[in-house]
Point group: C2
Chain length 317, copies 2
Amino acid sequence: MVENILIEKLLQNDRRTVARAISAVESGSQASIELLKELYSKVGGAYRIGITGPPGAGKSTITNQLAKYYRLRGKTVGIIAVDPTSPYTGGALLGDRVRMNEIGQDPGVFIRSMATRGSLGGLSRKANDAADILDVAGYDFILFETVGVGQSELDIAQATDTTIVVLVPESGDSVQAMKAGLMEIADFFVLNKSDRPGSEQAVTALKTILMMKDHDQFSWLPSIIKSVAIENTGIEEIAGEIIKHNNYLIKAGKFETKRENHVRNRIKEIVEDQIRKKLWSDDGEKSLNNSLEKVVLGNLSPYHIAEEIIENFRKQL
Amino acid sequence: MVENILIEKLLQNDRRTVARAISAVESGSQASIELLKELYSKVGGAYRIGITGPPGAGKSTITNQLAKYYRLRGKTVGIIAVDPTSPYTGGALLGDRVRMNEIGQDPGVFIRSMATRGSLGGLSRKANDAADILDVAGYDFILFETVGVGQSELDIAQATDTTIVVLVPESGDSVQAMKAGLMEIADFFVLNKSDRPGSEQAVTALKTILMMKDHDQFSWLPSIIKSVAIENTGIEEIAGEIIKHNNYLIKAGKFETKRENHVRNRIKEIVEDQIRKKLWSDDGEKSLNNSLEKVVLGNLSPYHIAEEIIENFRKQL
């Protein structure tokens, strides 16, 4: 049983409690799981937005400007950055840091960065758990900033109500985005740095690719919004498109289905995470080490050993 | 039991048999697992090289030039491209395609590209299995080209004898590489496009970062090689550094330890892959669907459902 005072403080958006609760879910401790279970009936109020795209497209700047836009309208914003190239995660130039501090000191904004390395596949679970905490704490919007390369980053950006893919007008960028699977997950596109040459051609190329996708008069056709985020140009249009997309989801009866699908994927992640934990507990690691010698002697392949380990796991589970 | 004729044809490097065997291991079929088990005692002759780095650094060009370099010296080369932005995987500009075809038609080169999406985490397993096939078929060098963003791509580049991290002299590139975990996995660096401005500063920045790492007179200190791969400058130096690193590994007694560690990680991957397959078989998916309703009704969290599923799995395993 989780202490009621903790839940109460979370519901009151007590900043230190929120930070501690997120650290706890990152650790994946049993206590944090109990907390998440107990909180779940209160989750669902926040609107979740994924912002993804190739490195250098300006995702952090857009995240920043969008957060400021919402703040000016009295809304609160939680930011979860899982982008290894993001200023939130520390690897940034001074300019970015300053900008980040600007909104980071606003009590209506909560920023959390998450390491992308060594997470053993639990990254997506952690990001979603952290979002649940922010959701319960009452943040109106939750922005996930992820770099759109790598499966888990795509998963996170996609496990939202609206997914924005940010591109820049560099030649071939849209084609590369297509290869990386970004085209399929975008609810709409932002062509950032659109004051650069090649911007019109990039929009045309994107439109051509989008028109090739199957669609009828009832489907949502992702639009392309031009922005120069660093000058705050196009941010209002982005916020407007998010509302438009939200309205479409509700009208088309797709909002709940989308959230159900996310829950489905989340359950799978949790199951796999927990089984992985059981597998490679101290005993599991020991039996792996014992088996290794057999491979090295050259008689047995990794597949042979894997079968042995699964057999042992079966007995132990 | 695997047909002996298939193994014989693989050992003779029959191109169609190699291609079919790789497709089989990509599918993860039981037959392919039997094949891999049987082949394993013949694996180990190829030298494996990982080439990774941020998008746009010129990894494909270096892979190409290095392959040509080895070919000119009578060596055969297998290339496994798991980079969504690589020309091998299709999303490239015309120039890249032409270059790729050039070496792609050489019978001493075998190129295989692998999708990075929808792989459900099996990407690394598939890449290593495919490398085993190429290894048995007798290729002298196996080059893995992966984009250095995303955990599984890093894993693949790292599961090699020598890992090369390719950077370009853009400002902040080295810092971002550090954040993305590239610094820790590099056996040496290639500063490509080193005819661009900022090249000297980039080398200095890299060196500074490298000197901060713990090292003594016995450790391998990654060097930095400047290249302009598109003009074939620096390729010989890269090949030389690979030999130097190989010699170091052998002399320091680290070659076998490194390969053992890779086997260890590979076993873990195989185990997790196979358990995942068992988990989400038809029955597993059905029980997940049944449970979903409970979440939607708002009474149970994903963590509750996950526990149920693990409990069912325990009974069924």
